[in-house]
Amino acid sequence: MSPSGAEVLRQIKSRIDEVDPAVVREQIDNGAVVIDVRETDEWSAGHLPGAKHVPKSYIETRIEGAAPDRSQHVILYCQSGNRSAWAARTLLEDLGYEHVESMTGGITLWKDRGYEVEVPRTLTAEQRERYSRHLLLPEVGIEGQQKLLDAKVLLLGAGGLGSPAALYLAAAGVGTLGIVDDDVVDLSNLQRQVIHSSERIGVSKVDSAEETIAALNPDVKVQKHALRLGPENIMEVLPGYDIVVDGLDNFPTRYLLNDASVRLQIPVVSAAILGFEGQLSVFKPYDGPCYRCLFPVPPPAELAPSCGANGVLGVLPGTMGLLQATEVVKLILGEGEPLIGRLLMYDALAARFTEVKVRRDPDCPICAREPEAISDEEMGVFPDYEAFCAGAH
């Protein structure tokens, strides 16, 4: 008669090494790979800190992803120590792993000892539905969606560029959106600033944007900065954000932002628009050029079209703002080729994109230096700063 399951298990346990949870706790810090071999729902309810998850039914096919080196120390555990014993035998006898142990008593004994358990974050049922089209993309998935929900993005302006960027970043589930704007909604804004509406004329733009975002996606927290960005407040506003979306309307603040973002090492997704044309680039400090590498000095005021009232095709900031939002999402996910060291020009009338290379300037007055060497006094300063564009600041 064949031996019973319990008898086989007893035999297996006699052939493998078992290890007490107290020892496992020490071994985690010594570089052992700890693998949870339970089912996904058991793993989701809580697991050992730093453990990897390879269900027992997939142990033969997936173990190499978790422990590629057959000579490394591998500790398996399950709920009570039985399934991990079977799995340990598989690794030792079938797959040639040299140093495998099974944790005695499983996670049940671990918990009884009062040791720490890590509960993996999961999406709620509503979030799984809301972001289902993201979850289907291998480049996003649950992990990517968590990154989006954890991300903090600062939008400079809830205007032409900031409106579409904020809407789509909110829809995508970017968890914290900061908005800097000291303006109120004006009728002439509504031709392009789609986050606002006719009923909100006269309402502050940060309040109006917050209301629209709240209606679109309750997952998003809006941090309102009802102020005009300047040297006196930039170092209070920027820290804590992962990425800045620059839609600023004047040169002095663009240089100030550049210098502060290099100092704080925060990437800036920058766009500018005029008439039917747009420019877009990503300035990631020390990974690529900064704004001063591209334009060491601003044009003189009489040639700086941002200083006066200029026309813009209402759709254009939509196009450019969404290209910015796309770059932001790519940076958060760490996917694709970000527009670092490249500048994209879009000519709406010609329906043409042109791309040029942007190099780091080895003599850049800002990013050729260490971030901590950049002082408050020199941030945003360039020759003739005082004479520049009186209306801009």
């Binding site: 205007g159 560029l161 601003p298 079209p305 941002s306 900031p317 020009m345 009338l349």
Partner: protein, 84 residues
């Protein structure tokens, strides 16, 4: 900002074997562009970037960079409009 100076044209065809010759030819036929492109001492203004195809001429040979018949020069002025 350069476009009004060339009568609204987006693309110009100019003769010349170097970046300097081509920009000079543009400035000669559209005098308003001269002060925008060149500083008083004849160098390219630092707030205007010129690219031969996709490469900044400053990392090539500047105004002396040779230009072939099939090459495109892109003039990129700094813009700061965010349509606030």
């Amino acid at each position: 900002m350069l476009r009004p100076a060339v009568g609204g044209e987006k693309e110009l065809t100019a003769d010349g074997g170097s970046v300097a010759e081509i920009l000079e030819s543009v400035a000669a036929s559209h005098p308003d562009t001269r002060s925008q492109l060149f500083s008083a001492d004849g160098d390219l203004n630092r707030y205007v970037n010129v690219y031969l195809n996709d490469e900044d001429v400053r990392v090539l040979e500047g105004l002396d960079t040779a230009v072939g018949a099939d090459d495109t020069l892109v003039i990129l002025p700094a813009m700061a409009g965010g349509a606030l």
